[in-house]
Symmetry: C2
Subunit: 219 residues, 2 copies
């Protein structure tokens, strides 16, 4: 188990007073898998530092369709759970715990004060935003220019790495939500993958049977 | 004609030394319409403050397809022309002058130093990035969930505002590049719009003949 001091990336560069303010206000939150942590920017629970677990950040359309923007893992910081401190962020990001999570929560006003007085913290926040921006630009390129078979192959491989298993326990519905498409589109492509010997479909699971060819396809 | 001091948004909040460093290094650049200012992050010419004119930021796929991310106007600051100062930015943005431009250029190393020593400058940069991030998220939502007729109607209305005219001098090819699709798709939809009485097509121009219905469609 990591301590906050050992995990928060810019700890060493903060002043004594700044460290004290953080220590005084940081809380630990245990969140079971499946919890929806945020469904609009108004929630604004604060900056989240992941001690254990995995978060998914996604968009939801007016009609309730989803698309995954990116995931965050151990030692990552979730910035958009504090987006009320950034009035120029004009979109609602949904955040859910994809695994059981242990999170440190830095209250929004505490972090905002830190950013205002510390160029180090402000520049670090910049760096976080730039790296999330890059993830979203990657998604734009995928959606604009990559055909759906490539995106699906890439998604299956990524899931397999995250779960450390060739057998994915995931419904077609869920995959559709990740990739921002309809369930039928996913089912049709998975059946095609099966007919090509790339995967084996069973009720509630998908087994990757030819990793190499999936990788070639995804590239 | 604006002076740099009157246009740079955080001027009042900088110290004397910081102002002096900016004044010493800022240069003015005149760029004719159509100039490609940047085609990869390596170009990194510095922060651009638009005194006059209009910039377009866009992505280009490996196959040469384009999609417009957003436009910048008078008094806007272009951050991604200095993206080499942010190693977490991992995508190449192309930048072109869409109108004749007069730009102030702040060299990348000068602005980077300013950000490192000034929390005000770092937070302002954050704010810029957040606002560009919002534009790109809007694009993601458009592409994921909005049908092409709505996007095209929205684009024609936006162009008409930018040109201050009901007659757009733009090719179908160019529209396709803005919206990240093929020319044929644009031509087909424009012909449909014409048959519905929304626009009138002529060689090299498109006239908006029913603004109201285009607005309803775009919503």
């Amino acid at each position: 188990m990591h301590s906050f001091e050992n995990t928060f990336p810019i700890w060493e560069k903060l002043t004594g007073a700044q460290r004290e303010a953080l220590t005084r206000h940081v809380t630990k939150r245990i969140v079971p898998k499946g919890t929806l942590l945020q469904s609009s920017a108004q929630d604004c629970m604060g900056l989240l530092l992941i001690s254990q677990g995995q978060l998914r950040l996604f968009l939801v359309s007016e009609e309730g369709k989803e698309v995954t923007l990116y995931r965050l893992f151990e030692r990552d910081i979730c910035l958009f759970s504090a987006s009320c401190m950034m009035p120029d962020i004009q979109f609602d990001i949904h955040i859910e715990a994809e695994k059981d999570c242990e999170l440190w929560v830095i209250p929004t006003n505490v972090y905002k004060r830190l950013m205002e007085e510390s160029a180090v913290a402000a520049n670090y926040t910049n760096q976080l935003m730039a790296s999330r921006f890059s993830e979203v630009m990657w998604l734009v390129e995928q959606v604009m220019w990559k055909s759906f078979d490539k995106r699906l192959a890439g998604f299956l491989l990524e899931e397999s790495v995250l779960d450390d298993s060739e057998v994915l326990q995931i419904t077609h519905e869920k995959i559709a939500a990740h990739l921002g498409t309809a369930r039928e589109v996913v089912t049709r492509m998975l059946r095609y993958f099966q007919s090509e010997g790339l995967v084996e479909l069973a009720r509630g699971s998908i087994t990757l049977t030819d990793r190499k060819r999936l990788e070639v396809l995804a590239e």
